[in-house]
């Protein structure tokens, strides 16, 4: 019996190769897309689950609510003091470790390089239990000069030599410290929120922080990790956090108003496994993702698989007529309906199985590329931990049964008498019956509509995401990116003594049109906020505050909207004072300083237009609290420029001319010979600071990187939209083929009655284009809603105009028409005599 079933099943596939191909290929693509996306979803949702002891490890995160605009910014960093006082007040916390990231210059055999180095308190590895491949985890991180590095970094540094006991020097705040390798960390997998290659102990003596660092709740420049006692969770702590804030955070006096950091800020503990997809996305060590995107991807995976199943069901029932005579004969020979159902389910399982084999081949081929592209570490294993064999078998079974159940019921339900009596192939009689069952193909059309709705919606999303990414990369950011070179590392202690001379020397290079220093550059991370007082406003006003020098605005190509630029000859412009010099601070507080603000800053301070702000004095906390607030005069207003991502609105900024700390240097070079001039800048840099690596990038490259994730998302959408359209077209092609076959007689009649070939083609193309047009009605509102939501995340964005919707609709209709036109032509040119010949 089974052999007979198998023979019939294989022959049925072999006899109808085109349909078999459509069925198997369609299902295979659906399954492959589903597997790929699900592997990605699993990868994204299992971040840090590989970490031993992850159940008790938490990261302290900071949520700041901006009362000015109601926006919440959530970051993974938290102030040093937050970890201390949490550990002090909550017995649920077993221990806390503070971690700070830095990029010191590393010296090895005279060569200077830089790398991301994690400086962590020495109990860090007890909380975040990164596995070691060499060294004893109880002792390796005990000494203040111990250094742990990852396997691959050790191999890079020391080649085949044993790295244990080797020495590396790091320059921190101008001080050189020797570290000895005491352990080798296993390479941190990509699915971790932690990214580092070097781990050294956190040494407050080397940090050069002001005493304020250890007390301020708003000083977020590192991470706190806590270990909860077994059985405890954040829920045990959360209700008592408000009281903890009140107890520990002392209000500051800002020009007479008492302001507490706790008023606008909340702290939460996130399990380390939930950091990657959590709400805190700022100051993350590795790019975060959001749960919504992951859900979207999972949904797309299921949709594509469903589409493939729909095709299978549609085609199988559509072709049911071809099997009617076999069914009738089997029934006459005594087959029960149950046996027939089993037979047809078996066939669909066979097709699903074949499709899965093809799907796995596709996955094996595509996965490494997709993995690379998404910057993920996706891999396909069949056996062992994370093996996909069982899920794959389950999926095959599910698809086989889900797609085959309905056709099996329809096929096994034929009444044998009319089929046999009508001395026909059975196509007519049986498909008439099927058509009635389907309400004259209504269900099938509905399913085609659904498939194209998904395809069109995905196409719209692809178009909008691509357009927004392009816009963000190319739209006017308020400054010219042409030939703008940004050099980082100018703030290093080693450079400070020579910085002024070096900047002047760079300014003299032929081909350099301007050079300046700043603490806010193109896509730099630093955020420095300060509260200022404006006369007549009882509330302090929050402003960003960044240092620049007198060359910055010229190098950026900005002219003041009102007032003037900083002037080196004007002593009131210069806000620099020797570190720790109290007399200088007192003098500064007495005489006051000059600042520039940007247009948003002027607005934030309450000035209707830029000119109104010029000459006005506000009060700022530039010096130690005991000297009071410093009278600060606005001498110029510069235009807003978009230095950060288009996701964020332009900050209200006050610019201070203070050369005591700068992070980046911007150099405007002759764009026509940018590469050559860059080399000259590097040569000058090396002549002044050979010990500090020259790290420079052109602005357009930096901006492009800002939107890499968006571009990857757009391309992923595009890929899967393409797949969805392909699967939908495959189904449409199969249905068109079947319908053309079923309508052969009707088409013959129409031709006998005078229909020309083009009438027939038009008839068929219209029949199948109609569901595609209707699909737009479903796709458009869904895509509009999704994309409006996504675009809302951008402060500057494209219009969600009708063009994207119309284009996607036309594209889908065009592709659908192209899919069926070949069929229609073939059918239309067939001789009606053949179609109408009776047996």
């Amino acid at each position: 019996m089974l052999k007979n079933y198998m023979t019939v099943a294989f022959r049925s596939l072999a006899n109808n190769r085109a349909f078999a191909l459509i069925n198997i290929l369609g299902l295979a693509i659906g399954m492959a897309a589903c597997l790929l996306l699900l592997l990605f979803v699993r990868y994204e949702t299992t971040y840090d689950q590989w970490l031993p002891g992850h159940e008790t490890a938490y990261q302290v995160q900071t949520f700041h609510n901006d009362p000015e605009n109601g926006r919440t910014s959530a970051q993974q960093m938290s102030a040093y003091v937050v970890g201390r006082t949490l550990a002090k007040d909550f017995p649920e916390i077993a221990q806390v470790a503070y971690v700070s990231m830095g990029k010191p210059v590393i010296l090895q055999d005279g060569a200077a390089t830089t790398a991301e180095v994690m400086m962590a308190e020495r109990n860090f590895l007890d909380i975040v239990q990164l596995p070691l491949v060499r060294g004893d985890r109880r002792t390796a991180f005990r000494d203040m000069n111990s250094l742990l590095l990852t396997q691959s970094e050790a191999a890079k540094r020391f080649g085949s030599a044993d790295p244990m006991g080797k020495t590396l020097s790091m320059v921190r705040n101008g001080k050189t410290v020797d570290y000895r390798v005491t352990g080798i960390l296993k390479d941190i997998p990509r699915n971790s929120h932690i990214k580092m290659a070097y781990l050294v102990p956190f040494n407050p003596d080397l940090m050069g922080w002001q005493p304020e660092f250890y007390k301020a709740y708003g000083w977020n420049s590192g991470y706190n990790y806590v270990q909860l006692k077994p059985g405890k969770s954040f829920a045990d702590i959360e209700p008592r956090l408000a009281a903890w804030e009140k107890r520990n955070i002392a209000p500051n006096n800002v020009g007479g108003t008492m302001v507490s950091e706790g008023d606008t800020t909340d702290w939460k503990l996130a399990p380390v496994t939930a950091v990657h997809l959590g709400p805190a996305t700022d100051s993350a060590m590795t790019p975060t993702n959001d749960a919504k995107s992951i859900t979207t991807f999972a949904l797309i995976a299921l949709l594509i698989l469903t589409m493939a199943c729909i095709n299978f069901t549609n085609l199988s029932t559509a072709r049911a007529g071809h099997r009617a005579r076999e069914v009738a004969l089997r029934k006459v020979m005594g087959a029960s309906r149950r046996q027939l159902i089993i037979q047809f389910l078996g066939e669909s399982l066979l097709v699903a199985g074949l499709a899965m084999v093809v799907a796995l081949a596709i996955v094996e081929l595509v996965l490494p590329r997709l993995s690379d592209f998404l910057g993920a570490d996706l891999n396909l294993r069949y056996f062992g931990d994370g093996g996909v064999l069982l899920p794959v078998l389950g999926l095959t079974l599910l698809v086989g049964l889900a797609a085959g159940a309905y056709p099996a019921l329809v096929l096994s339900g034929f009444d044998p008498a009319p089929v046999l009596k009508s001395n026909r192939s059975g196509t007519e009689t049986a498909s008439g019956g099927v058509a009635r069952l389907f309400g004259a193909g209504g269900l099938r059309s509905a399913l085609v509509v659904l498939q194209f709705a998904v395809s069109i919606a995905l196409t719209i999303c692809t178009a909008v995401v691509t357009a927004q990414t392009f816009y963000a990369r190319s739209a006017d950011a308020g400054y010219s990116r042409d030939g703008l070179l940004q050099v980082t590392g100018i703030g290093r202690k080693q450079i400070q003594p020579v910085a002024d001379n070096m900047v002047e020397a760079i300014g003299r290079i032929d081909g350099v049109h301007g050079v300046g220093r700043t603490t806010i550059g193109v896509a730099t991370d630093s955020r420095i906020n300060t509260l200022v007082r404006v006369d007549g406003n009882p509330q302090p006003v929050l402003m960003s505050s960044y240092n620049v020098d007198t060359g910055f605005f010229k190098a950026m190509g900005l002219k003041p909207l009102a007032g003037r630029d900083f002037d080196r000859a004007n002593p009131h412009d210069d806000a620099q004072f020797p570190e720790g010099d109290m007399a200088a601070q007192a003098a500064l507080a007495g005489r006051g300083i000059n600042i520039l603000v940007n247009a948003s800053g002027a607005k934030q301070l309450g000035f209707a237009n830029p000119a109104d702000a010029v000459g006005k004095t506000i009060r700022t906390g530039m010096v130690d609290e005991k000297f009071g607030l410093v009278p600060t005069t606005i001498v110029g207003v510069v235009p807003d420029i978009q230095l950060r991502s288009f996701r964020e609105p332009v900050e209200p900024i006050m610019f201070v001319y203070d050369r005591s700390y700068m992070s980046d240097m911007v150099v405007r070079v002759d764009a026509a010979r940018a590469g050559a001039v860059r080399d000259k800048v590097e040569a000058v840099w090396k002549s002044y600071a050979a010990q500090v690596p020259f790290e420079a990038q052109f602005a357009d490259a930096i901006v492009a990187q800002q939107y890499d994730a968006d571009e990857a998302r757009a391309k992923t959408f595009a890929g899967f939209a393409g797949l969805a359209i392909f699967v939908a077209c495959l189904g449409l092609y199969g249905l068109a083929a079947f319908t053309a076959e079923r309508r052969t007689r009707e088409i013959g009649i129409r031709k006998v009655l005078g229909a020309r070939n083009r009438d027939i083609v038009r008839l068929l193309v219209w029949q199948f284009s109609r569901p595609v047009l209707i699909a737009n009605l479903i796709a458009w509102p869904v895509a509009w809603w999704l994309m409006r939501d996504w675009l809302d995340g951008f402060a500057r964005r494209i219009d969600l105009g009708p063009q994207w919707f119309v284009l996607a609709g036309l594209l889908a209709a065009g592709i659908a028409a192209a899919t069926i036109i070949g069929h229609a032509l073939r059918v239309a040119s067939r001789s009606p005599a053949l179609a109408l010949r009776y047996e």
């Binding site: 007689r745 009707e746 009649i749 006998v752 005078g754 229909a755 020309r756 005599a833 109408l836 009776y838």
Partner: protein, 226 residues
């Protein structure tokens, strides 16, 4: 009306050539009622298909209303067919998804006739064949005789000068068969040329001339006195 000279039709497969029509010479005048008879497989339907421009001869000439049609393009054939020829089939060939009225209207759809005009003509012809009361029904809701009446209505609604009927009574009982034959007779009386393939000698008696075929050739022609 039409003239076939040395007409030949052969079907080729990879290995075999089958001759369906062999050297046929036949002339049919306007207003004639010709019955074609012969055993199954003798080429009756093939001949009818060629006369109806549904198929092309392999060799020979075919002149219809004085025009050589054997080598016209597909579109030209379509154009002649829709204006000059009506078809009636043994198995009715009605479209299940369309109502009786829509099935008949189909024959006017490709003529560029206005909807109002189409309605008038369809109503008139449905009335003439006595099926007007079932105009809204689907073919599957009608008896065989009623279905064939619809097919006849469809064949004549565009008023073609020639009607080809391929075993029009083959699927009908005696009473319904007679009824269809009387309708064809009446159409012929009104001036239509009718060419009918039939197995029934009784129904062939309605024709003015009978052409007997065997193995793709015309065996004998019998003219009936008027």
């Amino acid at each position: 009306m039409l003239k076939l000279s040395s007409l030949r039709k052969a079907y080729r497969t990879e290995s075999v050539e089958t001759t369906a029509l062999d050297n046929i010479d036949l002339q049919i005048d306007a207003g004639e009622f010709v019955a074609i008879m012969g055993p199954s497989g003798c080429g009756k339907s093939t001949l009818l298909n060629i006369i109806g421009l549904l198929d092309r001869p392999t060799a020979g000439d075919y002149s219809l209303e004085g025009r050589e049609v054997a080598r016209l393009t597909e579109n030209e054939l379509t154009d002649i067919r829709k204006r000059r020829i009506g078809f009636i089939f043994q198995n009715f060939n009605l479209i299940d998804e369309l109502s009786v009225r829509e099935n008949v209207e189909l024959a006017l759809l490709y003529h560029g006739i206005s909807a109002a005009e189409r309605k008038t003509r369809v109503d008139a012809v449905l009335d003439k064949v006595g099926i007007a009361h079932r105009a809204g029904h689907r073919p599957s809701q009608l008896s065989g005789g009623q279905q064939q009446r619809v097919a006849v209505a469809r064949a004549v609604v565009a008023a073609p000068p020639m009607i080809l009927a391929d075993e029009p009574t083959g699927n009908l009982d005696t009473a319904h068969g007679e009824e269809v034959m009387r309708m064809l007779r009446a159409l012929n009386d009104d001036g239509a040329t009718i060419v009918m393939v039939t197995h029934s000698p009784a129904h062939a008696d309605y024709a003015s001339r009978t052409v007997n075929m065997l193995d793709g050739r015309v065996l004998i022609e019998t003219r009936r006195a008027a």
